[in-house]
Structures are given as C-alpha cells and as structure tokens.
C-alpha cells in the first residue's frame, strides 16, 4: 500500500512568529502517511530547528532585503522529504557547522544540526556563501525509537 506522491510548498517571512505555522504545516502534511504522534512531534522539532536557523543565522538584522523561508514537502515511497531553504548568507564550512556544539552565536547551544540529524532518517545540507542554504530531511514512518 503506497501513498500517492504528493507535494506542497509554502513560503513565509523569516520571522519567529512563523515558527509555529511552519511546524504545524509540516506535521499536518505528513499526518496522512501513518506517522505516530511521537514521530510527528519529531518532525515538528526538526522543522523548528531548520527554520530557526534561517531566521537567526541566514538573515542578519543589518540585511534589508526580503527575508523569506521556503518549505518544500514531498511524499515518496520512503516517507516525506521536507526541505527548508533560505536565500541568506550561506554557510562556508558545512562540516564544521554540523559539528555538535559548534555555533557562531555565544548565546546558543550549537545543537540544531545535531538534533536534526538525530530526528531525521537522513539530512542533507547544501549551501553557497552569499546565496543561501537548503536543508533537506527525510522522515520515514515506523522507523521506531
């Protein structure tokens, strides 16, 4: 029994007030695929981390251009892929950024990517300094623990 391929895309302003919207949008898109309540909570947490990064890191306050986040959601036989994309400053060294505890903001934990890695079945990060960042996460229902 395979779910039909489905796709949705939302674009929203990169502001903290939209975090709740992004979490609920992703979870309700995924909800028809047979995820448990706990798995849907994991999707929300991972989306929250990725979108928070766009708001905090991608668009420094000095930038006056349009600060948008685009969230792409797609189902496949393996589950749902959620990609979160910004057109902000980008990440020069992706491997370093993904290291647990690594942060460019002393007020933060540097654990966002580590959490996303733990929550998603797979995580891919692509980025170009000055052009933006895309974080793609695959979630498969029934993967357990």
């Amino acid at each position: 029994m395979h779910a039909k391929v489905n796709h949705a895309r939302v674009e929203f302003d990169a502001i903290p007030g939209n975090l709740g919207f992004a979490r609920v949008a992703a979870a309700s898109f995924a909800a028809s695929l047979g995820f448990t309540v706990e798995e849907l909570e994991d999707i929300k947490l991972a989306v929250s981390e990725a979108v928070s990064n766009c708001i905090v890191h991608a668009y420094p306050k000095s930038n006056s251009g349009p600060a948008k986040v685009r969230m792409n959601m797609e189902t496949s036989e393996s589950g749902v892929t959620i990609s979160i994309e910004d057109t902000g400053v980008g990440i020069a060294d992706i491997a370093a950024a993904r290291t647990p505890g690594m942060t460019t903001d002393s007020q933060r934990l540097g654990m966002g990517f580590t959490l996303m890695e733990a929550l998603a079945n797979s995580l891919s990060v692509t980025s170009e300094p000055g052009a933006g960042t895309c974080v793609a996460m695959l979630f498969s229902p029934g993967r357990g623990g």
């Binding site: 975090l19 709740g20 994991d42 959490l115």
Partner: protein, 120 residues
C-alpha cells in the same frame, strides 16, 4: 508567562505553552528577573507539564539559567516534562547537566533531601 510559588528555599516555577525562538527572549528575561528577585533561593524547580513544545532555543535558555544558579551555589531542575519536552531534553543530553524529575513532588522532596545533606 511564569507562575511562581516559594516553598522554603525552593522556588517552583510553572511555565506553559511553546518555548521556541518566538518567546525565548521573553522566557529568559522572566526567569532572570525571578532569579534576581529571590537572591536567597538555591533551588529553582521548573515545572514543564504545561509546555507543549520546546526546541534548542528554549533549552538554551534553561542551560543559561542553570549556569546562573550554579554560580550562586544552587541549581535549576526540571519537573514533570511532557513527552515532547522529555524527548527534546533527552536528545540534548540535559539530564546529565540538570536534574529532571517526573513530578513536582519528587523534585521538592529530592531538593529538600539535597539541602539536608549539604547542611551537614
């Protein structure tokens, strides 16, 4: 955003809702002003049963307040996290840094015990 009750030298705080980037600053300011206005308090117990969501922005605030309490010889502990909060706390290794109790009663009993021991 925080309900506050004083039990002897323990300050019990109840917080509700979603703790993320949208209110992390408000959360931090509220916790700091409660900590500052109770200079004698050594144990702060944060009850999280009404917290429906927390991510690294919210947990970052907890770590910072734990450091502030530690610097006055005290501690911040967590009580009664719901399933989502428990999962996020576990994934971030919080239980190795702060005490996490299943209920407020357990937290208060354990904290009273800790005080008794340290007084001896």
């Amino acid at each position: 955003m925080i309900r506050c009750t004083l039990y002897g030298k323990s300050l019990v705080l109840e917080v509700a809702g979603e703790l993320d980037l949208n209110n992390a600053e408000e959360f931090r300011t509220a916790l700091d002003s409660l900590i500052d206005s109770h200079p004698d308090v050594r144990q702060v117990v944060l009850c999280m049963d009404q917290v429906t969501f927390i991510d690294s922005s919210g947990i970052g605030v907890l770590f910072g307040r734990q450091r502030r309490m530690a610097s006055r010889g005290g501690a911040l502990s967590i009580a009664s996290p719901g399933p989502q909060a428990r999962r996020a706390l576990d994934l971030l290794g919080v239980p190795s840094i702060m005490r996490v109790y299943d209920s407020r009663e357990q937290a208060l009993a354990a904290e009273a015990e800790v005080r008794k021991c340290t007084r001896k």
